[in-house]
Symmetry: C2
Subunit: 458 residues, 2 copies
């Protein structure tokens, strides 16, 4: 990965895991109120060899429903992280249930098993595949089925699934696999086609590169490209490592040549994350960041013909926006971009089993399991052969690297496609903001119209 | 069960298990030729705690396909029994690939896991839930997905699922759950609604009773009704038990009062089975039987005002048609109606887990497992809420007791309903016969037209 690749040298599959984890990081404030509830579900929905059960968490707010008996259920299909973080970061759902919209709906945010507090085997849940083996998208969907069976007996009230990123994949699959339970789905920035035999490997990085190439000056992308070799060569001497440690304000000294991979991994994640959350307003989704953080970053790398020292200094300056926009962070912790609290333990496993990644040769060693081939996932969910799907809106921001694997063409009249040309990762699911572009506002209007239509069909 | 119930005292759930097993009994001749093939599949398709694999059997004949590269695949979704028996008893599939129909199709008969030779753990497969726990309809469907992924990469060729009874449920569910893999499904006599909260308990027995009440004289049903009490009272004395043993030609003597339950269980199964296979021609599906075996049986019970002895003698006379139509059977073996070779070990388990039966209070004791509630099965597959289903033909014979739980009304323009007024259990999937009624001939024509249409959509 540090072998000075042609453009930005990032393993898109590693990014895949990182970025999904990113979605679960949020601010610390709680703008929305809900009750926390639990439902007992089987650990294994599909076999009878393991009869254990566990408690799945979900959040509920029915205070906006003016007739609880007939109220629609807006159901967030929780993805890889603490469900409270998704509840906080899906302002769209909170916005549309406000009285002025007269939607008569309640909100449910269902936690995905093995994340947050929904741990089938408590703190032993990740100990081995004996416990962890029941972490899969299909089991998670079956949890949602169990939950809806409980809170909506007979499917009398219309249910709308909503999700972003991997949660958007789940929302779409939920509608496809259980249409009797889910009247429709809003799937935002859901890379349903992110399987190597459908989407060419380089698409992700091509979009990512263009985000950095067009944000300020084209030099930004060139400088990033040059920096990999410079970082590598500087890391080869004691003097160079001391320079890097000081310039990037690293929390731990680079002591040997190999340590540089930690820093380049960190940068790799950072580029991807910056593109994801490149929102037109200051936000605290992955990290506290200014509006348009990619432009801000590239503003520090706008010059051509920087020498090696200047290049590293400019890069470190840019990185400080990501690391320390608040000015309160003392040093760059190269291990801080993803943490256990964010469910990366679980996502690493999913990435190595069903969200099949090339890096799974490591996964086999790590978990001792047989990963599925990407063909298996395509067989299960249809891949790009979804002509029978109905009542789904797929939305994608074209400045989101994941959009290359999104559903950008409708297979039929019952599936709607929303494109947000300048949009980052599922910005349309965020709370409304004065800085929202017309395209984002329009996307949310399409979502709401679709939801109304699906509810009326019930 | 022997407590002299109002009409014909049969536990419909017990019947459910028996009758499905019945489908797997066939003649001994092999009219059709195929190659036997195997594919390795995971024991558990939905989790990663068990990484075992096993070999699933399937039968193939592509000799009728004039262009193997583009040939459609007629895919029998194997149910609870040896797949060779289903291949032999699904003459409809063999008939329609004959050259005069110009269908360009190959035949695949896929065995259901835990039946026939597709035993995940060999002769230990039924030892405990540790081995047996992976027997479920969802795992079976996932086996079929794996098989199609292998023989039809990229889903380039159209696939039509065909099945009868539980196999018909699988065919319909296969299309509903994996529409990208299956262009359409013929679901014959598939009791998709056979779950207690959807279909009233008494429907099965009501139809069964009417089959016997209308076959010859109404006295037949009255005599059967009377016989339960007579059998019970006769079994209370040594003399009565000797009389019953002799009259029914039992292989083992009735020695005590409780033994009578074996005989009444046998009769219970027999009535159901006779109605199932009440075909207009002599056949050997469950047992060698004459044409219209119910009429034949009722011909022996046509008189009114029989005394107790006459009633038992007439009943035994009727039973002999079922037991010994060939004249070669020496005695009535009360344990012979279902045998291990027919997959009843597996079906008993399915009946106690997902095909949820009231008798499962026994099942819990027997297997130590938590059965699913019937609501769970409805949640998984939709129950009667199948308005998004497309490209399925549901056929039912109205003289088939299972038809009361069949899909008799189309939810939309893309689902076709076929009614065969005088039809028994999935007679339309049998080979054509000069005695076929116009309704059966028409049903098969509708099936073929639908198959052609679905193939042309591909």
């Amino acid at each position: 990965m540090i072998a000075a690749p042609p453009i930005i040298s990032m393993d898109r599959f590693f990014l895949f895991s990182v970025i999904f984890a990113v979605s679960s990081i949020s601010g610390c404030f709680s703008a929305y109120s809900y009750t926390t509830q639990w439902i007992e579900v089987p650990v294994d929905h599909f076999s009878f060899a393991n009869n254990d059960t566990f408690k799945l968490r979900y959040l509920k707010n029915d205070s906006f429903a003016h007739d609880p008996q007939s109220a629609a259920i807006l159901f967030y299909t929780g993805n890889e992280g603490d469900i409270e973080l998704f509840a906080e970061n899906t302002g769209f759902m909170w916005d549309i249930v406000q009285p002025e919209n007269r939607l008569n709906a309640e909100l449910i945010f269902a936690e995905h098993r093995y994340y947050g507090q929904s741990l089938p085997y408590g703190n032993k849940s990740y100990d081995s595949t004996k416990q962890l083996g029941y972490l899969s998208s299909e089991q998670a969907l079956a949890d949602f089925v169990s939950l809806l069976q409980e809170i909506n007996p007979g499917n009398k009230r219309p249910v709308i699934a909503v999700g972003g990123s991997y949660g958007g994949m789940l929302a779409a699959w939920f509608r496809m696999k259980y249409p009797h339970m889910v009247s429709g789905a809003i799937a935002a920035s859901a890379p349903l086609l992110q399987f190597s035999s459908i989407t060419p490997c380089e698409v992700y990085n091509r979009i990512l590169t263009s985000v950095f190439a067009t944000a300020y000056t084209h030099e930004c992308a060139s400088n990033i490209r040059k920096s990999w070799a410079t970082l590598k060569s500087r890391s080869e001497t004691d003097e160079g490592r001391a320079f890097l440690t000081k310039t990037f304000k690293l929390c731990t000294n680079l002591t040997k040549h190999e340590d540089i991979s930690q820093l380049t991994d960190y940068l790799t994640d950072m580029y991807s994350n910056l593109a994801m959350v490149n929102y037109p307003y200051s936000a605290n989704f992955l990290a506290p960041l200014p509006a348009y953080p990619v432009r801000e970053f590239c503003g520090r790398l706008k010059e051509a013909n920087l020498n090696d020292t200047q290049l590293i200094e400019a890069l470190a300056d840019g990185v400080s926006i990501y690391v320390n926009y608040t000015g309160k962070v003392q040093c760059l912790n190269m291990k801080s971009s993803t943490t256990d609290a964010l469910g990366t333990k679980g996502w690493d496993f999913q990435a190595c089993t069903e969200m099949v990644m090339p890096m799974c040769t490591d996964g086999i060693k790590k978990y001792g399991i047989r990963p599925r081939s990407d063909l298996e996932m395509i067989s299960r969910y249809g891949g790009n052969q979804i002509s029978t799907a109905t009542n789904i809106v797929f939305s994608n921001g074209l400045m989101d690297p994941w959009s290359g694997a999104g559903i950008l063409r409708s297979p039929n009249d019952h599936v709607k496609i929303v494109i947000i040309p300048e949009g980052a990762h599922h910005i349309d699911l965020r709370a409304r903001n004065p800085k929202d572009s017309q395209a984002v506002i329009a996307a949310r209007r399409i979502h709401l119209d679709a939801i109304r239509e699906w509810i009326s069909q019930n």
